[in-house]
């Protein structure tokens, strides 16, 4: 008996539980939220469950901080805990905290039950951890699915609203196509190299000179397409506006920050580590995707009445900017991406917070007309939204400007100054959709009740009962908005802390 045990022990993988702690915390929180969500008392369901979610994200952040600056390979090379993972987890968990607060008293959590809602959000975050930390094709795919499946459900969380269901279904179908493409690509990569570990793949490419091998290149191409779907990069972005618009706003806010961080994490790791030896083959394709994404995002966002659609296109455009930091394949580029993700998410979350507040306060939904007269009616929210828009547009003294500054610097140092020139010209186009929002806030006088007549007719799925139930936005939205707006301003003036945070981002990647 004992010799059997002795024979079995060496094959079990060595697991560093401390290194896995962020993942374990998130999974534990998810289970706990699910169980507590079954409680009979409504007060426990509606108040304690969000609190658990909040505490879990907080604990995950604490775990990330306790592991700061370490580089550990976990579970026999399946996952890698390095500064890149930790920084992105900070963004993801930060997004989780904000999304939890936004969803706390939201109709969406009410409709599919609080336990499920927050548990799914935590599970999705766990998937994001696996995704950004993975250094093996198999783990990557597991992470990808663990991230995607909860989000499909969350998008359809408002089960009584047609748009939300449509959004979930659309995301499910498109997302599955993306996953399938990625999986096929992985299969081809494995077929070409015979390896699943990222470093092993890189070594195999160099050893057998695979950079021009058709099988290998097809695999790379399919991975590119699949991840472009996931990260909503043009021309694979068509689902984004519909899904963003239809999904409950807290979920949209979470997706726009956390999913984006996770998607870029895996793109950076797969391309900068595993297939970097073939950089000449994939770099031009990614440059083209970056250009198309910037153009499509900025042009698509023009003339949108729905704030969420506008922010969806804006997030596509921002993804294009981030790609500029990616295609140069340098240490500075990865640092720039990380600072951009951190700084951009502040303004983005602030914008969604105000949109949500107005969805609850007015009958206009996420239409831009809901913001009319905000300057006189709700000056605090008006300032928050103004800071958010200025930051997204990259105006100096906001966090967004500093993010762009880093990208420009990295691109200039990486000999891609022309690409960044395209970036800034297109970001001037972005003024044409960010600034009218600011103008609407500050110039228009409120005309209660008559606004709908001038704009788009209120949709049938507008769920008037929900609006009637929630006349007030709730203090937590104001608080979140003010904190985020203050952060936008502070990091716009003193960005060095963020730059220090990301200074070692690329350490685990071996870039120059």
């Amino acid at each position: 008996m004992s010799f059997l045990l002795a024979a079995a022990t060496p094959t079990a993988p060595n697991i560093d539980w401390a290194g896995l702690s962020p993942l374990l915390v998130l999974l534990g929180g998810a289970i706990l939220a699910l169980i507590v969500g079954l409680a009979g008392s409504r007060a426990i369901r509606t108040q304690v469950v969000p609190l658990i979610s909040l505490a879990t994200f907080g604990a995950a952040i604490a775990a990330v901080i306790s592991l700061w600056d370490q580089s550990i390979v976990l579970i026999e090379g399946a996952l890698q805990l390095d500064p890149l993972t930790l920084i992105l987890m900070l963004v993801i968990c930060g997004g989780g905290v904000v999304a939890t607060l936004l969803a706390w008293r939201d109709q969406a959590a009410e409709e599919i039950a609080h336990g499920e809602f927050f548990s799914l959000m935590l599970l999705g975050s766990a998937g994001m951890f696996v995704l950004v930390a993975s250094r093996d094709l198999v783990t990557t795919f597991v992470g990808l699915e663990l991230l995607s499946l909860p989000l499909y459900i969350l998008c359809a969380a408002r089960v009584r609203e047609e748009r939300s269901l449509e959004s979930g279904l659309k995301y499910l179908i498109i997302g599955s196509v993306g996953s399938a493409t990625v999986l096929y690509g992985f299969a081809l990569l494995y077929g070409a190299t015979g390896q699943t570990g990222y470093s092993a793949i890189a070594a195999a490419i160099e050893a057998s000179n695979l950079a021009a091998d058709p099988l290998f290149l097809t695999g790379v191409a399919m991975c590119t397409v699949g991840f472009a779907f996931k990260a909503s990069l043009a021309p694979f972005h068509q689902w984004t506006p519909d899904v963003y618009e239809g999904a409950p706003t807290p979920v949209t806010a979470f997706m726009s920050v956390a999913t984006k961080a996770a998607a870029f994490g895996v793109i950076i790791r797969l391309f900068d580590v595993a297939v970097r030896p073939a950089v000449e083959a994939w770099q031009p394709i990614w440059v083209a995707i970056a250009l198309i994404t910037m153009v499509v995002g900025n042009v698509g966002a023009l003339r949108q009445d729905s704030m969420k659609r506008m922010l969806a296109y804006s997030s596509i455009a921002q993804a294009g900017y981030i790609l500029v930091g990616f295609v140069i394949v340098t240490d500075l580029g990865v640092q720039a991406i990380c600072s951009y993700l951190v700084l951009y998410s502040l303004g983005n979350l602030a914008a969604f917070t105000v949109v949500l507040a107005r969805e609850r306060e007015t009958a206009e939904g996420d239409n831009i007309s809901a913001l009319r007269g905000l300057g006189t009616e709700r000056p605090v929210l008006a300032v928050v939204m103004t800071m958010a828009m200025l930051s997204l547009a990259g105006i100096p003294a906001t966090a967004g400007f500093m993010g762009k500054l880093r990208l420009v610097e990295a691109a200039a140092a990486g000999d891609y100054a022309w690409l960044v020139a395209v970036l800034v010209v297109l970001s001037v186009v972005s003024l044409a959709y960010y600034l009218p929002v600011v103008a609407t806030i500050w110039r228009g006088e409120t005309q209660p009740g008559t606004d709908a007549a001038s704009g788009v007719p209120v949709l049938a799925g507008g769920a008037p009962d929900a609006d009637a139930a929630n006349g007030r936005a709730g203090w937590e939205l104001t608080l979140v908005g003010v904190v985020l707006a203050a952060a936008v301003l502070v990091f716009g003036i003193i960005p060095q802390p963020v730059f220090n945070l990301v200074a070692s981002a690329a350490r685990g990647l071996g870039l120059s």
């Binding site: 100096p396 200039a412 060095q496 730059f499």
Partner: protein
């Protein structure tokens, strides 16, 4: 005596913040008090600046963003000394105007805050001795104006302000890319530094200089505005409230002109010499186009708008003559034009009061009849605008043309036509408003005490400059020769090689 530039820089913003936080009825007073304090500080600087020593004084230098090598570096040189004082004068005039002449337009606290921020940003651009800091303040200048126009602007304000923003940001964001590339290339793999003094030591290669210079030039030419980059100007001018427009037309355009001397020529001398004639063609085209338009448009505001295009053309011409006198004249003209154009914007508002609220020249006429003192004041400003001998504008334009004549004679000849045209449009503005048949809606009255409070100080500045232009020219001479030296060297070595090549033939 130690003078901290950070105090003068942030004082207006702080005053604005105070105005916002204290009860609204104090807001305009606090705004005025803040700008008066800045003015006092600026005058102290004028007196205290060591003219004999020259160079950069009162330097503040703190590392701002360590990872990127960006410094919070401020300093006063002969280039920005007088311009800083001019800024203080114009903002004070605007604060007086807002306090005594403008009806309560609501939200005085926010107005005061935005004007304070605008002044801080403008002075930041003048004081910055770090390339990125300059670009940040240059872009930041626009933000308060966005809100000032959106909240208090004319009927087409939303589209006008969008146009203004998009035009100017195309230029300034490309300038940002150029600025960062400059630092990255100059560092050559080492620790980057964006201090202007460091950057001037390591000139870039000729190709990089080319496009970066053009990016900077584009940003400056759009901001001035200069033909053919003035597309935002007519709508923008028509929709700005008067107190804002006075500041905008007087000061913001000068930041751009200053940028050429402070940034573009010292850092990119090769490219400046290479594109000298291109920029001079733009300048001359601006002079001719601006004058022609100023002679034809009906709106008194736009007469001033187009005349600004022409006047800024003169300033650019003087700078790009690469001749000390031309640049000195340009710098003097920057101050002159700021004072005169700012004053005339207020005059237009006063004319409109007497012409039933219309700013159209065709609705005015005969206003002088009931307002002789007003007419006299207006006439002085008009003479200054057309550079009548005896005004500092004459001295400045004369020096600009002299400098241009020495280096590029053809341009000087064409530009001289502009001097004549200026007389046409300035007198047309004056005569069709003040004389001619009395307009249908005109109800003329004498200069009121409140109006006098705005105009008379500016009038005194114009007279002082006319009597003693040397006061403004003196510190400039040393500074402009420093600013031009790199470009002059390039030019000299270029002509040397061409003469040796000719000699070899």
């Amino acid at each position: 005596m130690t003078i901290h530039l950070s105090i003068i820089l942030w004082l207006p913003a702080v005053a604005g913040l105070l105005a916002l936080l204290l009860p609204g009825r104090f807001a305009r007073w606090i705004s005025l008090l803040g700008s008066l304090l800045v003015l006092a500080y600026a005058i102290t600087l004028l007196v205290d600046y060591d003219r004999a020593a020259g160079g950069l004084q009162y330097v503040t230098d703190i590392v701002w963003i360590r990872s990127l090598g960006i410094h919070y570096a401020l300093g006063i040189s002969g280039l920005n000394l007088v311009l800083l004082a001019t800024t203080a004068v114009i903002f004070t005039a605007s604060a007086i105007w807002t306090l005594v002449d403008e009806p309560d337009h609501g939200k005085p606290g926010i107005y005061a805050l935005l004007m304070g921020l605008a002044q801080t940003a403008v002075m930041g651009a003048f004081l910055a001795q770090d390339l990125i800091l300059f670009v940040v303040f240059f872009d930041l200048m626009l933000v308060p104006f966005y809100f000032l126009i959106v909240i208090w602007g004319g009927p087409d304000r939303t589209s006008a302000v969008l146009k203004l923003f998009m035009y100017t940001l195309v230029g300034s964001l490309l300038m940002l890319v150029g600025a960062i590339t400059t630092g990255v290339l100059a560092a050559n793999g080492g620790e980057p530094s964006f201090l202007l003094a460091d950057l001037a030591k390591t000139p870039l290669g000729s190709t990089a200089q080319g496009w970066i210079f053009l990016a900077f030039a584009l940003a400056f030419l759009i901001k001035m505005p200069s033909f053919p980059f003035h597309g935002w100007m007519p709508d923008g001018y028509s929709n700005m409230p008067i107190g804002v427009l006075a500041v905008f037309t007087a000061i913001l355009s000068k930041v751009a002109a200053y940028g050429f001397l402070q940034i573009a020529l010292p850092l990119f001398p090769d490219a400046a010499v290479r594109y000298q004639e291109l920029i001079m063609i733009v300048a001359v085209a601006s002079i001719l186009y601006g004058s022609a338009m100023a002679f034809t448009v009906d709106s008194a505001r736009l007469v001033l708008g187009y005349s600004s295009i022409a006047q800024l053309g003169f300033i650019v011409l003087g700078i790009f003559a690469f001749d000390g006198r031309g640049a000195d004249g340009a710098l003097l003209q920057a101050t002159n034009h700021a004072i005169v154009a700012g004053a005339l914007i207020f005059v237009v508002a006063m004319l409109a009061r007497r012409a039933g609220g219309s700013e159209k020249l065709s609705d005015m006429g005969g206003i002088a009849k009931g307002a002789p003192a007003f007419a006299a004041v207006f006439l002085v400003f008009s003479f200054a605008l057309l550079a009548m001998p005896g005004t500092a504008n004459f001295v400045a334009e004369f020096m600009i043309l002299l400098g241009t004549f020495e280096s590029k004679m053809v341009f000087a000849f064409i530009a001289a036509i502009g001097v004549a045209l200026a007389a046409f449009y300035a007198l047309r503005l004056y005569i069709s408003a003040m004389h001619h048949r009395v307009g249908a809606k005109v109800n003329s009255f004498e200069l009121t005490l409140r109006e006098g409070l705005v105009l008379v100080p500016l009038l005194l500045v114009v007279i002082a400059l006319a009597l003693y232009p040397q006061f403004a020219l003196d510190p400039a001479e040393d500074a402009t020769s420093r600013a031009l030296s790199a470009a002059q060297q390039v030019q000299a070595s270029g002509s040397e090689t061409s003469t040796t090549a000719q000699g070899a033939k």
